[in-house]
Structure formats: C-alpha cells, structure tokens
C-alpha cells in the first residue's frame, strides 16, 4: 500500500509569513508524529497524535507552531510568522497504536529567507 506522503516537498517562504505543511499517514495507522531535522542534526520531536486523544505537544518549540489532525487521517503543521531558524526538514511519521516502529514520509524542506 501507499506510504506516508507529505506536501509540499519543498517550500521557500519569506520571514514573517505563515506556512502550512501537510502529512497523509498510512491508512490504519492511528499514531502520527511530527519531527524537525536541522541540517546535519538528528530528529527533534515536535508533536504526537493518537486517535482522538489529546495530542502531546511537548516538543513544539514556540507558540508559533501548531498542528491539527482530523480523526486518524491527514495532519497539518502550521508555522506562523516564520523565522530563519525555522529552516529545516519537517518529517512526519505514522505507526500502529502501541507499536514502536515508525514509518516516515519523505519530508518537507522549509527554507525561510
């Protein structure tokens, strides 16, 4: 079946603009994660969704970051008033409930100029 998809694959935006990143998880996966990866670095956890439970937002770096998920489907990560330090690859992953293996999308490369 189809894997995790993300759009857009690349996004260039001006400082101060808002951006919205989209993630389509694997069908049937109830858990969805967002990560940020700065150049040459590991992955930073941002947010976790599990079914209809309240999301774990403990990794969001500031109140400019927010994310939503509709049921067990699409998720959007929104960054308001983008800053240059927001430039990174944003990765989405999904998994079955209470399993640990995560399936990653190809990521969105965000460049803030």
């Amino acid at each position: 079946g189809a894997g995790v998809s993300q759009s857009p694959s690349n996004k260039v935006t001006e400082k101060g603009k808002d951006v919205e990143l989209r993630c389509d998880p694997i069908s049937g996966h109830t858990a969805l994660y967002w990560y940020r990866q700065r150049l040459g670095q590991g992955l930073e956890f941002l947010i976790y969704f599990q079914g209809n439970s309240a999301p774990d937002k403990s990794g969001l770096p500031s109140d400019r970051f927010s994310a939503e998920r509709t049921g067990e489907s699409v998720s959007t990560l929104t960054i308001q008033r983008t800053q240059q330090e927001d430039s990174a690859v944003y990765l989405c992953a999904s998994s079955f409930f209470r399993t640990y293996e995560q399936y990653f999308g190809p990521g969105t490369r965000l460049t803030v100029t």
Partner: protein, 113 residues
C-alpha cells in the same frame, strides 16, 4: 538531555568491509531502534531491539544492546555502495511518553566502490 549519541559521526569504508556504529543513551529504555536516512529525507526503519534482548540479526545487520553500559551497536557486514547513508539510533525511554523516540545525531556512512 536524553538524546542518544552515535559514534563515529562519519565513517568511510571500502565495499565489502564491515561497518560498525555505536550509540549511547541516557536512562532505561523500552527498546532501541536503528533507522537509515538517504539524502537527508525520509527515514527507513531497520531493526528494533527490546531492552531484554542482547543481540538481533536481520540480513546483513547485527545489533547488540548492553543495558549495563547503556549502549548499542549496529554492524553492517559485507558493505555495499548502496549502504551509503546516515544511520540513526532512536531510543524509546521507559515511562510516560514511551511511544516517543529520541534520536541521536547520526553516523554518516560512505561505502566506496
């Protein structure tokens, strides 16, 4: 910080040789996973080893876990040019939020044909 750390940061070997990468973590874990990343985009799950396991094999991959030293190693035998990628360990820590993965900064492996 609970972030795991891999070493070496970069490794260059000839095709056919074995590659060994190490990972250290901070506190008790549920499991430790290894992922591969090509060209700075999506990650691919390679292998998961649980805290009560000491060694696991998958094809040319061998993972060991030493909970007393809080370390793990990934061995790739008979390396191929296609193994060139960055390799990350990811720890699932015990307790609340154990579904979260804490990634290291990765080892960049180059296999020279």
């Amino acid at each position: 910080s609970q972030q795991g750390e891999e070493d070496p940061q970069a490794l260059s070997i000839q095709e056919g040789e074995n590659a060994t990468m190490n990972c250290s973590y901070k506190t008790s874990i549920n499991n430790l996973q290894w992922y591969r990343q090509n060209s700075g985009r999506g990650l691919v799950h390679l292998i998961l080893i649980r805290s009560n396991e000491r060694e696991k094999h998958s094809g040319r991959l061998r993972v060991t876990l030493d909970t007393s030293k809080k370390s793990s190693s990934l061995l790739i035998t008979a390396s191929r040019a296609a193994d060139t990628a960055s390799y990350f360990c990811a720890a699932s820590y015990s307790g609340a939020g154990s579904y979260q993965l804490t990634f290291g900064k990765g080892t960049k492996l180059s296999v020279i044909p």
